[in-house]
Symmetry: none
Subunit: 251 residues, 2 copies
DNA sequence: GCCACAAAATTGTATAGACAAGCTTACCTA
DNA sequence: TAGGTAAGCTTGTCTATACAATTTTGTGGC
């Protein structure tokens, strides 16, 4: 009945944290839509019987996440999750998607067992002979826009059926843990600049020759044996990499 | 010698902002060194005769900037400058060239003073009016092969002649220190994928549409005012970025 | 000396209140 | 009617206080 129940004032979890999470979920569920104003700080404080300063702390979290913005004298508003002009951090894709309240999904294009060719044998340091490789091909998209194309390869040593979750969102370490006898513990990534081939362009919905990031990931087991490999491309107009050097004076 | 004078409680500038700036400068000057503890919140509050909550707000700013970190029950400590990461490697490629015993050189294409256009005014947060910008355009090459093209822009406030060393190998912080009244202390880099324009292709000796890395660097003074900016391109067939990481060790 | 426990120190969370700053609305006056 | 002003919302800043959570320090007993 009372929404106040959603905040547990006696929990070890701080109230401001609970409230931030609550509002985040409400925005994600569409209870507050982009451009709309949140209830005023005083309203929220009264509703949950907490102090205005605590409400402000929660909202400050959401502001720093870019989920809402506050205008003095007017109110606090839900930020627009439009994809236009948004460029994602390459490493925190899903994290950022959640923060921005965007819908994203992975689409499975292909999942099949193939025989290792010479290139794959070289990648996995396999001896001559027949080796089975599990190949996944997925597309990552957000708000109905395709953003990246991923090809994952792992050494297939366990004949287990594919899991439902793997069809939705396969991860390289997850696939290795499930379908091979190896244990993934570390990874090496190589990032290159590339341009879209005709096939890649048509899959991602960009022009042939458009800029791309190409990321090759190799996953190793504890003995540094390569047990998984992926080659993914990311739309250059949707991804960027940022870094911040120290504030200090070098000497 | 009252340090309290450094905070103007009647200024329109918020106290927490003044204090954050003050501590930032003290850290930069080395009055508080990495690993050392700041004075306790209560000490700072007493020293400047402000409330502890206001001190906490200032420190929260510095924490979010990654400059300090707080440990409950222990204190607040100056963080060590983080030497991230991939872009750093890319930028120090010339250094790597030396290590590999390769001949490399920078060639100055242009060095001139221009009037800030709208884009540069926006980058440097300049008000309307006339602002002089010093523009350097250089090419980095190794073994007679051109590898990257750099455009550097700084706010030109000192009319000093160019130094010999600057013509050979200008660096953004160096140019700022010599030709402006600002002190460069930190930098933010953004890396994108791009393709070569006709002009860029002819300068670098690649085909138009060839893959490139594009690196935009913004250099800040202690107040986080942008005082230098560069836009550089690197041949995609000559550069790559590698990293090791453990994304599956996270819980 | 060493351990156990208490006390102190320090950051973390939460509250209530006061006033400032910016925006909107309504009302009053010319 | 038009314009200006005042009132009143809403967010922004700041204070003073209280207590919790965590670490360090000190003390007493053995």
């Amino acid at each position: 009945m009372q929404e106040g129940n959603l905040i547990d004032k006696n929990s070890v979890i701080p109230i401001y944290y609970q409230l931030a999470k609550l509002i985040r979920e409400q925005i994600r569920r569409g209870e507050f839509k982009p451009g709309e104003a949140l209830p005023t700080e005083i309203e929220i404080a009264n509703r949950y019987e907490i102090s205005r300063m605590t409400v402000r702390r929660s909202i400050a979290e959401l502001v720093s996440e870019g989920m809402v913005y506050a205008l003095q004298g007017k109110g606090t508003f839900v930020a627009s999750p439009k994809l236009d002009n948004v460029v994602f951090e390459l490493n925190n894709f899903s994290h950022e998607m959640v923060q921005r309240g965007l819908n994203y999904k992975t689409t499975l294009l292909e999942a099949k067992i193939i025989r290792a060719d010479e290139e794959l044998k070289a990648k996995f340091l396999l001896k001559e002979g027949i080796h089975r490789i599990l190949h996944f091909r997925t597309v990552l998209s957000a708000e109905n826009e395709r953003l990246s194309l991923e090809n994952k390869y792992i050494i297939y040593t366990k004949s287990k059926p594919l899991l439902e979750s793997e069809l939705n969102d396969p991860t390289l370490p997850g696939l290795i843990a499930t379908h091979s006898d190896y244990v993934p513990v570390s990874a090496k990534k190589v990032l290159k600049a590339a341009v879209a081939t005709n096939e890649e362009a048509s899959i991602l919905g960009v022009s042939p020759g458009a800029p791309l990031f190409l990321v090759e990931t190799t996953v190793f087991d504890p003995d540094l044996k390569p047990v998984g490999w992926s080659k993914s491309i990311f739309r250059g107009d949707r991804y960027k990499i940022t870094s911040h050097d120290g504030w200090f004076q070098k000497e």
